[in-house]
């Protein structure tokens, strides 16, 4: 396997056999994942949510931001199965429209912080020394805040909006990923295949991205999956507190603001129960997938 490494050639590299993502390894992972029944269920739910997110505008029966004037009650009715919200907009359409918002925040912020975390963690773990020291102390500083407090302050300061929520979650979420990647790099950089690559004269960046990172991709993928679930929860909480996605744009979190009134909470459960359940179901589904991925990618962890 080592002799097959096409070192020295920079472009047009053939796939290296024996890497963890080669065909047989991948097939094994898929098989183990499919055996995890809850994970498959989670994946099916996620697929349905993705359809809602992508085609929400076409699926929604009404304009999510339009005020319905021709109905006398805000209770569920044939035309509006989930009733209307306190402003008089169709709840079902808002619920569908909010799917896109929540999933985008989850995926977007995690994509940002996984990128940052992988780069910083790789640098810290690969080079060690004072670079490692500085990066990890910085991670400690960010981790010493209760994350939610920090996110609250920063979103309030930069102004709450959909993009700012993604940015703030993305820029503050990297320390756990950096720690994880650093740990993987610390062990992987001493392994024979890394030494072999180095002996053959590979550049640092090449060793980091072509040799070590693919071997650390499993735990990173699992962390990213659980992170997406977490980000959706945080976005919902921020929007519920009025510091996240702002109305009129619907988000599951800000749809629950209505329930802060005890009369709505007691007498109009159709206004707050569906968005709450949507958050719960989607986060649960992602966590199921994360569990399945973890078991499939690292059978040693299986209990």
């Amino acid at each position: 396997m080592l002799l097959a490494l096409p070192l020295g050639r920079r472009e047009a590299e053939p796939e290296v056999p024996g890497r963890p993502d080669d065909a047989t390894g991948a097939r094994q992972v898929v098989r183990r994942f499919l055996r995890h029944r809850l994970a498959v269920l989670g994946l099916v739910i996620l697929a349905a949510l993705a359809v809602l997110a992508l085609f929400g505008r076409q699926i929604a029966p009404h304009d999510p931001n339009a005020i319905i004037a021709d109905v006398t009650t805000d209770a569920p009715s044939p035309g509006h199965p989930l009733g209307l919200d306190p402003v008089g907009r169709d709840n079902l359409s808002r619920l569908i429209d909010a799917t896109r918002i929540s999933l985008s925040v989850g995926v977007g912020s995690v994509a940002i912080y996984v990128t940052i975390g992988v780069i910083l963690g790789a640098i810290a773990g690969y080079f060690g020394g004072w670079v490692d020291m500085v990066i990890m102390r910085l991670a400690d500083v960010v981790l010493s805040f209760p994350t939610l407090m920090l996110i609250l302050v920063v979103t309030a300061v930069v102004g709450p909006s959909f993009w700012n929520v993604i940015l703030v979650l993305g820029l503050l979420g990297w320390p756990p990923v950096a720690r994880l990647v650093r740990g993987e790099f610390l062990t992987l950089r001493e392994r024979e295949f890394t030494q072999a690559a180095r002996a053959l004269g590979a550049r640092d960046s090449r060793i980091i991205f072509r040799h070590i990172l693919p071997n650390a991709s499993g735990p990173i993928l699992v962390a990213a999956t659980f992170g997406t679930a977490q980000a959706i929860l945080v976005e919902a909480a921020l929007s519920f507190l009025g510091l996240g996605v702002q109305p009129p744009q619907a988000s599951w979190g800000n749809m629950l603001i209505a329930a802060q009134s005890l009369t709505v909470l007691e007498e109009k459960p159709w206004m707050w129960l569906p968005p709450g359940l949507m958050i719960f179901i989607s986060v649960l589904a992602i966590n199921f997938v994360g569990d399945g991925l973890r078991d499939a990618l690292d059978p040693r962890l299986r209990r």
Binding site: L143, M149, A237
Partner: protein, 316 residues
């Protein structure tokens, strides 16, 4: 041990300094002026300028930060922009409610999670084991505020068992029973996220320990089930659980912000939301510093506890 303690405190200092610098910078570089929220339309430009000077906002932020640090060293947390009262005073009245809420959630978590985790481990693959798995996943996936609202809906509005919010009955006779009555729902809600995780953690720690040789020896020499499980296995399984305490602390403090908002609990979490919406920066700074302190103290305590429960660990 003492040397270790001093060392840890010396490491914590730059981290704390970094925390304050970071939050001061973020707050100061933000667009928007805190003075905007304090002025009334009748004030002249001169008055506004005077106010800015009085609050120290006319100087660049590194200067203000240095001044803030200097005051902090003398034990002064600054003055609220909004009320002009010392920040310490504004926070002091909120510390008690937050501590009682987080500590009871904390106790509840471990009082439930440890026995249930042990039972799940000793009866692996039984219905109770599956139930804990489900509970752990569900607890981790349900938004705190939604759970809180659902609890108020069921237990306060429909069943009328608990009050809907607050920490005591307004104008009521008071007393600890009344306060306990108000504490139940928020404490249960706040503990839910951590409880499921802790259960699973206790379970896997128990499973790990019970596979070790000394447990087989304990069985082999004819000890009772009780002695093996609770005396030998549990004691060793609790060692890694102690580390979890330090990890859960930030979650608990962060969760308190949401729980307090849902239940109208007059603690530091709600003060944070209030201070944020009022742009009362000195209060936000002090709250950030305090929470960071609590997190660091919790982590240090965890490490010390770790050495206490595991005699093999010696810090030197």
């Amino acid at each position: 041990m003492l040397r270790y303690l001093v060392q840890r405190l010396l490491v914590a200092l730059p981290v704390l300094l970094g925390v304050t610098l970071l939050s001061y910078a973020i707050i100061s570089l933000a667009p928007g002026d805190p003075v905007d929220l304090l002025i009334d339309p009748n004030m002249s430009a001169h008055d506004i300028e005077q106010m800015r000077i009085r609050l120290g906002l006319d100087k660049p932020w590194p200067v203000r930060y240095a001044k803030w640090l200097g005051e902090l060293a003398r034990g002064n947390l600054g003055y609220s922009y909004l009320t002009g009262r010392p920040v310490a005073e504004r926070i002091a009245e909120r510390v008690g409610p937050t501590l009682s809420l987080t500590l009871s959630a904390f106790l509840l978590t471990y009082l439930v999670a440890i026995p249930v985790g042990v039972i799940a481990a000793t009866r692996q693959y039984s219905w109770i084991d599956y139930l804990t798995s489900f509970f752990a996943l569900a607890g981790n996936s349900i938004p705190t505020f939604f759970l809180g609202l659902a609890m108020i809906y069921i237990f306060s509005l429909k069943l009328d068992l608990f009050p809907t919010g607050g920490s005591a009955t307004l104008g009521g006779p008071g007393g600890w029973l009344d306060r306990l009555h108000h504490l139940v729902l928020p404490a249960v809600v706040l503990s839910t996220t951590g409880m499921g995780r802790t259960m699973r953690f206790v379970r896997s720690a128990m499973l790990e320990v019970t596979r070790q040789d000394f447990i087989r020896t304990a069985w082999a020499k004819g000890l009772s089930r009780r002695a093996v499980i609770y005396k030998h296995a549990l004691r060793n399984a609790l060692i890694p659980v102690v580390t979890l305490i330090g990890l859960e602390l930030p979650t608990l403090i962060g969760g308190a912000v949401i729980t307090e908002s849902v239940f109208g609990w007059p603690g530091m979490g709600r003060l944070t939301i209030e201070a944020i919406s009022q742009r009362d920066y000195p209060v936000i700074m002090a709250l950030n510093l305090l929470t960071a302190l609590m997190v660091l103290a919790g982590q240090l305590l965890t490490d010390l506890l770790y050495a206490l429960v595991d005699p093999r660990i010696r810090y030197s």
